[in-house]
Symmetry: C2
Subunit: 141 residues, 2 copies
C-alpha cells in the first residue's frame, strides 16, 4: 500500500493542522498523543514520508531513533516514570490508525496499567500542561 | 541501573545458551521469542551491550534499526501477516523481563488478538518449524 500525503501527521508536519508539539529537530517532530494511554504519551514522527516501518527508507529509520531515545528520556523525567514503553504499529491489523510512520513513547509507573490505544480524548488543558512538563525536561538536557 | 553481563540474551549472544536463531549480521541477532504473543514473534537483539533503550549508545541504536526492519518484512512474509507490531520495553514497570536491549517484532493478522507478553512457553518443534519459515523468507530477500 502506498503513502497518502493527506494523512493527519503530514498535515501536522506541514503546519496545516495543530498539535501539542514538544520537540523538533532535523529529522523528526514529537507531539502528544491526544488519546494518551498514560500521561505524557508522546509520538515521534519522522519528517521523511513513509506509510510505516515496512516502506521506510532504512537510513531515515535509523536517523530518527536518537530522537526517539531523547523523547524516552524526556517523558521519563517529566513524569517521574519507572519505565518507558515503545510501540510502533504497521498496518491496521497491528493497530495502526494514522498511516505515516510514528513511534509511541509511553511513560510507565510500577503497577499502573496503560489505557487502550486510541481510547478517550484527553482534555486540551491537560495536554497543554503535559507538553510544558516535557519541554521543561528537554530544556534541561 | 547498570547492565548485568550475565543476562540470558548476553549468554545467547556469546553462544553459551541455545536459542532459535533466525538471523545474524554485524550489529544484531534475531531469535524467536519462546513465549510468543503470536506465531513468528521474533526478538531483535543488538550485539552492543545496553540494559535497554535508555542507556543504549545512540549510534548503536540507530545501526540496529535496519535489522529490525528486515526482520519485520521476513516475519510478515513467512506468516502471510496483514501487519507487524513492534514493541520495546524499558524497565520492569514497562514490562521488560530481560535486561539487554531488544525489540519485539510480532506478525499480526486482521481480527486476531495477540496473547499476553511472557505467557505460555511454545513447543520446541513448533518453534523449530517457525524458525525455518522465517529463515526461508530471509533467504529470498
Amino acid at each position: 500500500m502506498s503513502y497518502d500525503p493527506d494523512n493527519i501527521f503530514a498535515k501536522i508536519l506541514s503546519g496545516d493542522f495543530p498539535a501539542h508539539k514538544v520537540y523538533e529537530d532535523d529529522v523528526a517532530i514529537a507531539i502528544l498523543d491526544i488519546m494518551p494511554q498514560a500521561a505524557g504519551h508522546t509520538l515521534v514522527i519522522p519528517k521523511a514520508a513513509s506509510r510505516n516501518l515496512l516502506d521506510a527508507d532504512a537510513n531515515d529509520l535509523a536517523q530518527m531513533m536518537p530522537t526517539v531515545q531523547k523523547i524516552a528520556h524526556a517523558v521519563k523525567t517529566a513524569f517521574a516514570a519507572d519505565g518507558v514503553h515503545l510501540q510502533q504499529f504497521n498496518e491496521a491489523a497491528a493497530g495502526q490508525t494514522v498511516f505515516h510512520l510514528h513511534f509511541h513513547v509511553i511513560p510507565r509507573h510500577d503497577g499502573v496499567a496503560v489505557k487502550p490505544h486510541s481510547g478517550d480524548m484527553e482534555d486540551q488543558d491537560v495536554l497543554v500542561a503535559h507538553a510544558e512538563k516535557i519541554k521543561a525536561a528537554l530544556a534541561k538536557t
